[in-house]
């Protein structure tokens, strides 16, 4: 019964999408207001259908209904409630269901936000595009990826989720947040296609979707960071990024989206780069589909063990159709989009953003090429080769350092053109701070080239960020006499995009520094200990206290208690473990980590006691890892700040007996008012 209900819900959603598309097309052709409104409203039906289908699946999971194949494969009667609920996205079919729900949500947001503009062809075409995407995913679920397939013989108990997907609470957050990011890029894509089709290339579509794009970007950023955290805390190999194809699949749209967020500012200010921005938006969406294809089709080796399915050809075809449509539209309309604006000088904010985009595009190309290259090599040569971490690190590091440099220098560059002196004055102190930091790092013993460059450029960028905040506060204090705290608050609120962006950049600096430092420092040793024995690795002493076994319905866990101490100071007792699940022969290791501000002590149980009652313990000392997560938090906070609405400036009267000339209020160069003056040179 549940299977029929669920499948009917999916079919209803597909039907609603078809009806909506037809109504909108007819409405556009016939210029019929009623049809356009009706078509828009079909979006709500699509959302309701998706929620209903997901609801039925959750119901089936929670009630352990093993007559459904998906439930039998991803749930067992002993599975705890949390992992039963997260079972919705534990495997392919369910995650398509999740995708549909989130897509329905974003489409509803668009349909609701533009309800007063539904007679506008731009909005209508955008919604048609969105409904086509929704229809595709519904078709997947009606066809090759049917989550509601039934089993002819109902098993006594289900297989349970993959062990790796049921031993950490992050399972509840990482996939949904990642999808909120991925799917969100459908919104700017919809409007980009609509702009191309209707010929309305003005800035309307950009500002309409700006918030949605930033929200999607924020979620994708957090999703990727959570993925790295999961890799670190759960998978047990001690690292957080392996340039695995599935990781790369999530990084690719992030790279083009980040390029887009920056170049969009140029379009808003100067009306330039319109074709490029449209291309970026289409590319980002295509990459989300391509990424899903790479992840789900099993074409490439990956640590993420997804089961293969027939969904590959469908996804690849859809990718082809979308790419062809996008490229075709740009080829058709693109040259009419050429903007009147010109880049006046090589030393300007515009050209810095162009460089930024070039670097991000190059990085995206590197990641895509490296991920797909084993397949290309096989097609050309017949034998496979591997492209792994050493390649990506070597290619990405110079690009990353160049981006770090741009991040530091660009905020000081004014729009249009400037004299070299202005830029030099603005950058002198931050650059000195960067250079001194490099020297200090070398004096303190750092010897990696990329490493010290990262420290120096990071300090340079941070100094620039602090400088912007100081100028903003100082300007308000001079003009309006506010206290520092109030000035900070009001300055931030009156230009949230600038300050939010600066906070995000600071998070990036932290992450860059961690990437540089963690590969240069750290230790990794296996030690074999009997009960009571200790070993020392890099100044940390680990003592094997004892072990025990815990049994539950879900799994059998064998853990060892390890006391960790630094010198005389005891840091705590940690318990790395190996768990075996009833339906899997391999044991799954769970690491145990002591997180410190400077070091993490990362313990894994390599083997349980052998005949001599010795255990083998993997001890890794990882440097400064915690700052990765802190950097991610800054990025998230910055995004939230950037999304905040602007505070309207309330004019304040200046005392009339003040005979000094009215000081120029410090306007940050990023305020979008067209007559914004440059910063007063300090």
């Amino acid at each position: 019964m549940k299977a029929a209900l669920g499948y009917a819900a999916v079919a209803f959603g597909a039907g609603a999408a078809v009806v909506g598309i037809t109504a909108l097309l007819a409405g556009l052709q016939l210029r019929d207001a009623f049809l356009l409104r009706f078509g828009r409203r079909c979006v709500y039906a699509v959302l309701i259908a998706a929620i209903a289908a997901a609801g039925v699946m959750e119901w089936a999971l929670i009630s352990h209904d093993f007559s459904l194949r998906y439930v039998a494969e991803n749930n067992a009667s002993g599975t705890p409630l949390l992992y039963t609920i997260t079972g919705l996205w534990a495997a392919l079919e369910g995650s398509i269901l999740l995708w549909s729900v989130i897509l329905g949500g974003y489409l509803t947001f668009v349909a609701f936000k533009f309800r007063k503009r539904d007679q506008d062809p731009l909005v209508a075409v955008a919604i048609i595009t969105g409904l086509v995407v929704a229809l595709f995913f519904s078709a997947l679920m009606l066809g090759p990826a049917n989550p509601f397939r039934e089993l002819s013989t109902v098993p006594f108990d289900g297989r349970g989720p993959n062990p790796l997907l049921q031993n950490h609470v992050l399972m509840a957050f990482h996939p949904p947040i990642l999808y909120l990011g991925y799917v969100g890029f459908t919104v700017p894509f919809m409007f980009g296609i609509a702009a191309l089709v209707t010929g309305r290339f003005g800035e309307g579509w950009l500002s309409d979707t700006r918030r949605a794009t930033l929200v999607a970007w924020g979620f994708l950023t957090v999703g990727i960071i959570l993925g790295a955290w999961w890799s670190y805390e759960v998978l047990g190999w001690g690292g957080f990024w392996a340039w695995d194809p599935v990781e790369n699949a999530s990084l690719l749209p992030w790279l083009t989206a980040t390029a887009f967020i920056h170049s969009v500012i140029v379009q808003e200010r100067r009306g330039m780069l319109r074709v490029w921005n449209l291309s970026l938006v289409i590319a980002t969406f295509c990459l989300t589909i391509l990424g899903t294809f790479l992840t789900r089709s099993g074409v490439i080796d990956s640590v993420h063990a997804f089961t293969q399915s027939d969904i590959g050809p469908w996804l690849l075809t859809f990718f082809g159709v979308v790419a062809a449509t996008g490229i075709g539209l740009i080829a058709w309309r693109g040259d009419k989009l050429r903007a009147p604006g010109r880049i006046d000088s090589a030393v300007s904010r515009e050209s810095a953003f162009l460089m930024n985009n070039l670097l991000f595009a190059a990085l995206a190309f590197v990641v895509l090429l490296g991920t797909v290259f084993p397949l290309i090599a096989e097609a050309l040569r017949g034998s496979r080769l591997s492209v792994g971490e050493p390649y990506f690190d070597r290619m990405a590091t110079p690009i990353g350092l160049a981006l770090l440099f741009l991040m530091a220098a660009a905020p000081a560059l004014p729009w249009r053109a400037t004299s070299g002196e202005v830029v030099r004055n603005r950058l002198l102190i931050p650059a000195w701070i960067g250079g001194l930091t490099m020297l200090a790092a070398v004096i303190l013993g750092a010897r990696g080239l990329a490493e010290i460059l990262a420290y120096g450029l990071g300090a340079f960028a941070t100094a620039g960020i602090v400088r912007q905040f100081v100028l903003g506060i100082r300007g308000r204090r001079r003009a309006l006499g506010e206290s520092r705290a109030v000035a900070l608050g009001r300055a931030t609120r009156s230009n949230p995009r600038l300050y939010g962006g600066l906070v995000v950049h600071f998070g990036v600096v932290l992450i860059a520094v961690v990437l540089a430092a963690s590969s240069a420092y750290g230790a990794n040793r296996d030690v074999t200990l009997t009960k009571g024995q200790s070993a020392t690795v890099s100044g940390y002493t680990v003592t094997y206290l004892g072990s025990h076994t815990a049994r539950s319905d879900q799994k059998i866990t064998y853990s060892a208690d390890i006391k960790v101490a630094k010198g005389d100071r005891v840091l705590g007792t940690y318990a790395p473990a190996i768990s075996t699940y009833p339906n899997s022969t391999e044991g799954i290791g769970t690491p145990s980590v002591h997180t410190g501000l400077l070091d993490d002590v990362y313990l894994t149980l390599v083997s349980s006691p052998n005949a001599q009652r010795e255990i083998t313990l993997g001890v890794r000392i990882n440097a400064v890892i915690v700052w990765l997560w802190i950097g991610g938090a800054f990025m998230a906070l910055g995004t939230i700040l950037a999304l905040a609405p602007r505070l309207r400036r309330r004019p304040k009267s200046i005392p009339s007996d003040d005979l000094a000339p009215v000081p120029v209020p410090d306007r940050e160069p990023d305020s979008p008012e067209p007559d914004a003056r440059e910063e007063v040179p300090v």
């Binding site: 006046d344 050209s351 090429l369 080769l385 591997s386 390649y391 250079g435």
Partner: protein, 150 residues
């Protein structure tokens, strides 16, 4: 001139000193460093995508021990790599070789970057139609005097 560029030249010197210290050749790597370097280049044969350095699988640990053994026996990095390629095939190396088809994966990104950079330079050049009005020294002095700077 010195006033304008002095601080920057000094900064340049600081940076050069730091870079020189880092880039100064300091003899060959220690065996442990060599071993680690090689371990990051080999793929663990029984895992999906992890390097031998990162994986805890029994085969990885065996390979780590074998690498150490070979280094001790005096084999060069190239010899060790070749030995493993002979037994396991080229796919055991995580870094594509720089010969044959593998060259593509190194060259293509550089080509793309160069094309993009050329495009940008082209765009910038095309826009140099307008004359730029640079402030002369006299102008600057005038402005400074008006602003009341000493």
């Amino acid at each position: 001139m010195i006033r304008r560029w002095g601080p920057w030249i000094a900064l340049g010197l600081v940076v050069v000193v730091a870079l020189a210290v880092v880039l100064w050749p300091n003899g060959s790597q220690s065996p442990a460093a060599r071993a680690h370097e090689l371990e990051t280049e080999f793929k663990c044969p029984e895992c999906e995508g992890l390097s031998v350095a990162d994986s805890q699988a029994p085969t990885s640990r065996a390979i780590r021990a074998d690498i150490k053994r070979r280094i001790k026996a005096g084999q060069s990095d190239a010899e060790i790599r070749q030995a493993y390629v002979d037994t396991y095939g080229e796919s055991i190396l995580l870094t594509p070789q720089d010969s044959g088809v593998s060259l593509l994966v190194w060259i293509l990104p550089i080509v793309v970057l160069a094309m993009g950079a050329t495009g940008i330079v082209f765009v910038l050049r095309r826009n140099r139609e307008q004359p730029h009005l640079h402030a002369t020294e006299a102008d600057e002095r005038l402005v400074h005097r008006e602003q009341g700077d000493g």
